[in-house]
């Protein structure tokens, strides 16, 4: 289901926890699986659960509880825009509206070419850099005014 490299990464996470506490690595393992597959199909969740000796439903509970897991396919780049109050005061909502217009999609939608998915995010703990957005869970971008957004979109193939 997952490449050897991903399994090695998961093993490294398991080693952080005491013996018999493999389940503690489930968040990291699901994130690693999602990074490889682009999203989390139920087979991947089940695979992770089996690998960590935990019931699949318990892994599913985790995957469905935390916001950054994608239980449905997303575009090649997932753009999560923070619209919470501190960002809103500095243009977070405007940035989201700008992106919606530019990409022709709403929140939780993907462009027809499969390039972008747009999500509304909650506080990312970077309010001083507002407006803030997160690219595919990994890359935080701050000061996202129209020019910066245009530049970012061009860069993301």
């Amino acid at each position: 289901m997952l490449t050897k490299e991903s399994i090695q990464k998961i093993d490294r996470e398991i080693a952080k926890y005491p013996a018999g506490r493999k389940q503690s690595a489930v968040m990291a393992a699901l994130a690693i699986a999602q990074e490889e597959l682009g999203w989390l199909p139920s087979e991947a969740i089940e695979f992770v659960a089996n690998y960590l000796d935990m019931p699949p439903i318990a892994a599913y509970e985790v995957a469905s509880f935390y916001n950054m897991y994608d239980l449905k396919p997303v575009g090649r780049h997932k753009l999560t825009v923070c619209t919470n109050l501190p960002c809103m005061l500095s243009g977070g909502v405007d940035a989201a509206e700008y992106l919606k217009k530019k990409l022709g999609i709403g929140f939780n939608e993907t462009t027809p070419d499969g390039r972008f998915t747009l999500k509304e995010g909650e506080c990312m703990g970077a309010c001083g850099d507002a407006p803030v957005m997160l690219v595919s869970n990994r890359r935080m971008c701050g000061g996202m005014r129209p020019d910066e957004i245009d530049k970012l979109l061009e860069e993301l193939e």
Binding site: S24, M27, S90, E122, M124, C127, N137, R145
Partner: protein, 442 residues
Amino acid sequence: MAILGALNPILTVGWDGGAAWRLQDYVKRGGYKALGRIFEERISPDQLIGEIKKSGLRGRGGAGFPTGLKWSFMPKDFKDGKYIVCNTDEGEPGTFKDRDILRGNPHAVIEGMVIAAYAVGAARGYNYIHGEIWDIYKRFEEALDEARAAGFVGKNILGSGFDFELFAHHGYGAYICGEESALLESIEGKKGQPRFKPPFPASVGLYGKPTTINNTETFAAVPFVLNMGAEAYLEAGKPNNAGTKLFSVSGHVNRPGNYEIPLGTPFPVLLEMAGGMRGGRKLKACIPGGSSAPVLPAEVIMACTMDYDAIGKAGSMLGSGAVIVMDETTCMVKALERLSYFYHEESCGQCTPCREGTGWLYAIVHRIEHGAGRPEDLDLLRGITANIMGRTVCALGDAASMPVQGFLKHFRDEFEYHIENGKCLVPPEVQRAGSTFFKATV
């Protein structure tokens, strides 16, 4: 974003914009000296806890609980593995200080955690890092590798015979995991749903073992407290409000960012450090301690000093030190609508009053904002908050209710105007100008 300014700094001295974060830089700044001295001078865990108590250091995550006292709750005779956990699940809207601490000085957090582990007799620790800050998580892991290689973490630390293993745990997007017992559940690989307390983590914590949980900034302060001495740290702030603190200033200011100031510094000084009001506009309101803290009108906050006592007396909380500044272009109904949406979205769903109540709070503020408010709505909102507060396992229900109560207390006329006129007191074009998203319009 780096630290943008400081007054008599302690924590952020020599940060150099976040570039000088490596072990060698930290050691050059006097890092790991406190840890070395503990072993050289054979300072006992009890002496250490006494020193932290004497310093008056209080938890920097929001509750402001005395750190030394918290450490003293750990059972001394428990031999079956105790834990130290650092809470870097920084998701309280307005708060972004811990991210900068891990970026600028991760080794201070590591040293603080090792010292805490020695003080309470813990053999293993975790730093739970907010899901959205992947680059910071990677940096902390790198810093951990450096600390292990140098013998500051791991077996027989600095030849003392003391062992302590430390790891980073990466969150994946859940505000509730900033609540300490939800955070422990999350490390155990479960949904982040808070536990009933008591028992408190010092008795039954991670994997059921005694656990001390502190905020990132609290751990980061520990080496400095020991280096400068408890009394000097205490005197750097004011009585009952010891030391300095990082304040995250966001919203309508010219230079949003983190600022380190002594507790007790007047709010106008902090506002000026942050470049003053954006576009020279008028201050309308300020949330002084993260989104859960009740909002204060301009005239109240301008008369406050930034410390636990003064902000508490003014009817709010110092919380995490997240200062959200709002100018006259802000629609208070819209501001509360967004916060209420947040708490509804982030309620873990475990307790009915919170799960259902936060939904109602949002629905009602939403209809007021969108011109469909009813005259009885304001009393209804108050009634719902009364039925949430104190009736839930954790504090998220209270955190969702306090903003509603604060906004209604100080800006009731704006809510009434919305209900009566079906529109905002602040015209939409004025609201738009506040954000400066389209620079040309400002």
